[in-house]
């Protein structure tokens, strides 16, 4: 119907072209949908099929991750997201009439997801990643809404967000949107195949990878190219670049290796830790092999486009005092790390990640490596890795300067070459969730 309306207001000549592009758009959208592998079951009603698809897409978008308080009722909100603009408290999105979105209709939901506006027209803060969700197709949005409406209604009022001045002055938000928000569903790249486009659709849209893997400016907007990595807002972790071969760019990885990492949380050479472990556990492990593969294909292509970056922090140890520091670090390594990660940092494939030639160890920001030493952690338990081995926390045992020594040693041994770490860096890396 919408297409007819558009045609009626256009001139005849234009109408032909418009009609043609509408058909093209529909075909492309169908192609995006075609990659869905949620099997159509003839015993289910249309609504039930839509809900099944919606349940799957809700996993892809990990709506539950933010809209559930720790240990709280699923989708009932109340999770506190701290950012430099204040604390955002996520809303209840169960179909409760009074405290949830029971009174919303499909159009309201679309307006929120696609345009970043609440039911009453209020502009939403981009802590809700509509800057990414805007790329989601209407069909997918409707399916998510149908699923959310099928959930048990939970009556739960959540406290209001605590947004600092001046960010709580709403007109600023509309300026922000003018500057940084580009509304519009994902437009397939004609030059690429269906699988690549499906991957791009998932990574850029529902997967909202760019919500973390980006550098944000003072106004919290993603800066420059997408997926180029950055400190995660409100979380003391660095989300590595997914384009640079110096960080987590996957140009030289195989599709299978990437898919394994995204699905199981661990691969021969890498392990998902911190917030990424949570994403694998809550979302990615539930995706179909076809969708994971599509994401891997797209991510690999991002890495292939950026092979000429240079490491700006090339560093070589020359002076005697530095050598002495590294020697001390080496002694600590032998005492605490070597048993699992090996004498030459080789690790054990699929169990304990290698440290030699590991880009997440030598990348510019030492934050994640320091945090791993301080807090330890387990990879997520997944169907593919249900009983993971863990990294002990050393915060209780090592002093800040000792952590600095051992991390510096790891970053400069077995062919690794990266900046030294100080006790001050270690102190700054403390605190925060995950």
């Amino acid at each position: 119907m919408k297409y007819l309306f558009f045609i009626s207001i256009a001139s005849r000549q234009k109408a032909g072209a418009l009609f043609f592009s509408c058909i093209l758009l529909m075909l492309l959208t169908m192609r995006l949908m075609a990659a869905d592998t949620v099997i159509e079951n003839p015993d289910l009603s249309v609504l039930e099929q839509q809900q099944t698809l919606g349940a799957y897409l809700t996993r892809v978008g990990n709506c539950m991750g933010c809209h559930t308080a720790k240990g709280g009722q699923e989708f009932a909100g109340g999770r506190r997201l701290s950012t430099s603009f204040g604390i955002f408290v996520t809303p209840n999105i169960t179909p409760d009439e009074e405290t949830g979105i029971g009174h919303w209709n499909q159009e309201d939901f679309w307006q929120a997801l696609h345009s970043g506006k609440s039911r009453d027209g209020r502009l939403l803060y981009p802590a809700f990643p509509y800057t990414e969700y805007t790329k989601v197709t209407r069909q997918d949005a409707n399916a998510i809404f149908a699923y959310l409406q099928s959930l048990p209604a939970v009556s739960q009022f959540n406290p209001p967000s605590e947004i600092h001045f001046p960010y709580n002055f709403k007109p600023l938000l509309s300026i922000w949107r003018t500057l940084y928000f580009k509304e519009g569903i994902y437009e397939p790249d004609e030059g690429k195949d269906e699988e690549w486009n499906r991957g791009a659709y998932l990574v850029q849209g529902l997967g909202h990878c760019n919500a973390c893997h980006t550098t944000r400016n003072l106004l919290g907007a993603s800066e420059g190219d997408t997926l180029t990595g950055g400190q995660i807002m409100g979380v003391n972790w660095y989300a590595p670049s997914l384009t640079s071969h110096l960080e987590a760019g996957a140009g030289d990885r195989t599709i299978e290796e990437l898919a394994e990492l995204l699905t199981t949380g661990i691969s021969e050479r890498a392990v998902a830790s911190g917030p990424m472990a949570t994403i694998v556990g809550q979302s990615l492990q539930h995706l179909t092999p076809e969708d994971i593969r599509a994401m891997a294909v797209y991510l690999k292509s991002l890495g292939e486009n950026h092979t000429n970056d240079s490491n700006g922090t090339s560093f070589s140890v020359t002076t005697g005092s530095l050598l002495k520091q590294l020697k001390q670090g080496g002694q600590l390594y032998e005492q605490y790390c070597q048993e699992c990660h090996g004498a030459t940092g080789e690790g054990v494939p699929g169990i304990y990640p290698p440290l030699a030639n590991n880009r997440s160890v030598v990348m510019d920001s030492p934050l994640n490596t320091i945090r791993s030493v301080l807090n330890g952690g387990y990879p997520p338990t997944t169907a593919g890795n249900p009983r993971p081995y863990g990294m002990p926390p050393f915060q209780q045992i090592l002093r800040d300067n000792e952590v600095a020594l051992v991390v510096s040693y790891i970053r400069n041994s077995w062919g690794n070459n990266a900046g030294l770490v100080t006790a001050i860096d270690v102190g700054r890396s403390k605190g925060g969730d995950h």
Binding site: G71, T278, V348, I351, Y378, T381, Y389, G390, Q396, D433
Partner: protein, 241 residues
């Protein structure tokens, strides 16, 4: 044919070299002990006092108790950030397996602490531990934690073999709103809030000087009214999992 023999010789020569490098690399035992190294670095064979905290022994504690604590730490009901970070992405199934592993360990208990107790402190402590105070509706510790104070399977922990510092810290947390936030009924919180400081002090010292021996009692040892009073610990968590 000659090539074949050369290749074969090559293999025979190469194999021992390959083996030699393998022995240098890390071998990982496929055991729970290896998987829980992240736990045992703090919760070792004995209680351990770290620089910032005290790490209680977890070996040999009732499985249900350990499982509940793991869930409570993971889901934010019991707050200690290092534990929350470690457990964040672990499934119920795996946590149950970890709880089972630690509960099945039978390690010797540490010797009791040497603390001087005044006779009146001993009397006060023994009165509260074994009889409680019916006037204040304070149950005896032994009514829930077992006649021998070694706990009751599967959800109630023992009170012996713990250090004074740890017991005092736990009672203090219960008093200040509960180790478990927002859980109702919060029976230990209710009890700790009623204890005067001299009572807490006496109980804490007295428990720390008792030698630990014996095993947790079976669940039948629990009086029905106490099981009801603490049902959030005794029944709900257990039944749900």
């Amino acid at each position: 044919m000659n090539h074949f023999i050369l290749i074969l010789i090559g293999f025979l020569v190469a194999t021992p070299i390959a083996n030699a490098t393998e022995t240098d690399s890390v071998t990982v035992p496929n055991t729970m002990a290896e998987r829980v190294k992240a736990c045992t670095i703090c919760h070792g064979d004995e209680d351990r006092a770290g620089r910032d905290a005290y790490y209680p022994r977890i070996a040999g504690k009732p499985q249900g108790y350990l499982f509940n604590q793991l869930l409570n730490f993971r889901d934010g009901r019991r707050y200690y950030q290092p534990m929350a970070i470690l457990l964040e992405n672990m499934s119920d199934e795996y946590l149950l397996e970890i709880a089972h592993y630690f509960s099945s360990l039978k390690l010797p208990y540490p010797p009791p602490e040497h603390i001087n107790l005044q006779p009146e402190e001993i009397k006060l402590a023994e009165q509260l531990v074994f009889s409680g105070d019916p006037e204040r509706e304070l149950p005896a510790c032994s009514a829930c934690h077992g006649d021998n104070l070694m706990g009751v399977e599967p959800f109630i922990p023992g009170l012996l073999g713990l250090s004074r510092v740890y017991i005092a810290a736990q009672l203090g947390s219960w008093r200040n709103g509960g180790v478990m936030r927002g859980q109702t009924p919060d029976c230990m919180s209710e009890i700790a809030k009623q204890l005067a400081s001299d009572e807490t002090n006496a109980i804490t010292k007295w428990l720390a000087v008792q030698p630990a021996s014996g095993n947790p009692n079976p669940v039948t040892a629990l009086a029905p009214e106490l099981a009801h009073r603490c049902h959030s610990i005794v029944q709900e968590n257990g039944a749900a999992k």
